[in-house]
Amino acid sequence: MLFRLNPAAGQPLYLQLMDQIRHAAETGLLQDGDQLPGIRTLAEELVVSPNTVVKAYTELENQGLLELRQGSGAFLTLDRRARHRTDCVQHAHRRIRDVIGQLREDGLLDEEIRRAFEAELLYPAESLRKR
């Protein structure tokens, strides 16, 4: 499992790590019961403060996505709800892929598609008004 943290991004490193673990679970890269590296190992690998890893693991444990076992590390726990969510996200990926395919066939450039997605996500109310 490869994580990549960006110190220059405007988001705390522990949140970046949480997002990437969650993303890996949602896309099926990490499966129920999979073990994550220990705190020291991951901190050394990413060259970040061990507290960054502790904070990410603890928050994910609070959210029910990780189980921390004393001395033996962190394990991914996907309950039914989380598994359902994983399915939803994977389904969404397929639908978005289809939509993008169609838009390209309609002759839109990738940049235009990107802007349309961003506008819709950032200002849903405004783009509705324009319609």
Binding site: P7, G10, Y14, I39, R40, A43, V47, S49
Partner: protein, 297 residues
């Protein structure tokens, strides 16, 4: 953090004649953390560290390291047993070999971790039989780090530890600092290498002309500090932008550059109210904050 701080100073001051090297410093360093101590050359970082270790006497004020008063000679001896210090000049005995230096240092510390020393000796590729005098600057730095790490101190203080190391050596250094912190040692290190500090620190204290001008968690920095570039077709008055969080507004024609330590959403809303034609929000890194704070002071 509810645990007692590992370093706490109160109005710590050091004057050399009429020059105040450190001015009324109130510094608190949390346990279990990596804290970066930033400042320009001559900002007072080394003077502060030497006072913390009892190597020079404060002109006024006081402080405690691991709960022991730095100005009390007896408590100072006690605190130095639990604090490891890697100085800027890496004080080592030039006539000893690496091996002799190891055995000599180990003899002072009953808790010496031979396993850590051996591992690092291999990892750092230090030649056992070479005399310290014949080591490169980078190797000397690594040896000094090794000697500090193997003591398993409660607090590790380093003064410009990255000096003399190549990028690969810096990477090894940062990894070692992360590893020792994971074992429960608090790390306090001074540097003017902002990128190093930004990667591994939990908190950063910035010293400028002997004064503490910023003490900040890097999570907060990444979460809240923003630069907001706005273009106004019709310029608003600056007083319309008296919003908490705005540290500074630089105006160039119709373009404003707002430096904010928080509240970016409210600032963007206000800019919209004044019909901004373009608003761009970018995260601010430690380098920008450092330069901005140095400019303000």
């Amino acid at each position: 953090m509810i645990d007692a701080p590992v370093i706490q100073t109160r109005a710590l001051t050091k004057s050399y004649g009429r020059v105040e090297a450190v001015r009324s410093l109130d510094l608190v360093v949390a346990p279990g953390c990596i804290t970066g101590f930033l400042g320009r050359n001559g900002a007072g970082k080394s003077t502060t560290i030497k006072m913390l270790l009892g190597m020079i006497r404060p002109t006024s004020g006081d402080g405690a390291v691991l709960g022991r008063r730095i100005t009390d000679p007896r408590e100072n001896v006690e605190l130095r047993r639990h604090v490891a210090y890697v100085s800027e000049d890496k004080r080592l005995y030039a006539y000893m070999t690496v091996e002799q230096m190891l055995r000599f240092t180990a003899s002072f510390y009953p808790d010496w971790r031979h396993d850590i020393a051996e591992n690092l000796l291999r990892e750092y590729e230090l030649p056992r039989e070479r005399k310290v005098r014949a080591l490169s600057k980078g190797m000397r730095t690594k040896l000094a780090l090794l000697l500090a790490f193997a003591r398993r101190p409660d607090l590790l203080i380093l003064d410009e530890p990255g000096d003399g190391l190549d990028p690969f050596g810096i990477e090894q250094l940062l990894q070692s600092l992360v590893a020792i912190c994971a074992e429960g040692t608090a790390v306090f290190f001074s540097s003017h290498q902002i990128a190093e500090v930004e990667r591994i620190s939990d908190r950063v204290a910035i010293l400028e002309r002997g004064r503490l001008i910023l003490d900040l968690s890097l999570d907060d920095m990444r979460e809240s500090y923003r630069q907001i570039d706005v273009v106004f077709p019709g310029l608003p008055a600056e007083r319309d932008f008296q919003i908490a969080g705005i540290r500074r507004i630089r105006a160039a024609g119709h373009q404003w550059s707002v430096f904010a330590s928080g509240n970016a959403d409210a600032i963007v809303d206000r800019a919209r109210d004044f019909h901004a034609s373009s608003i761009q929000v970018t995260p601010v890194g430690l380098r920008e904050i450092f330069l901005e704070m140095a400019r303000e002071n």
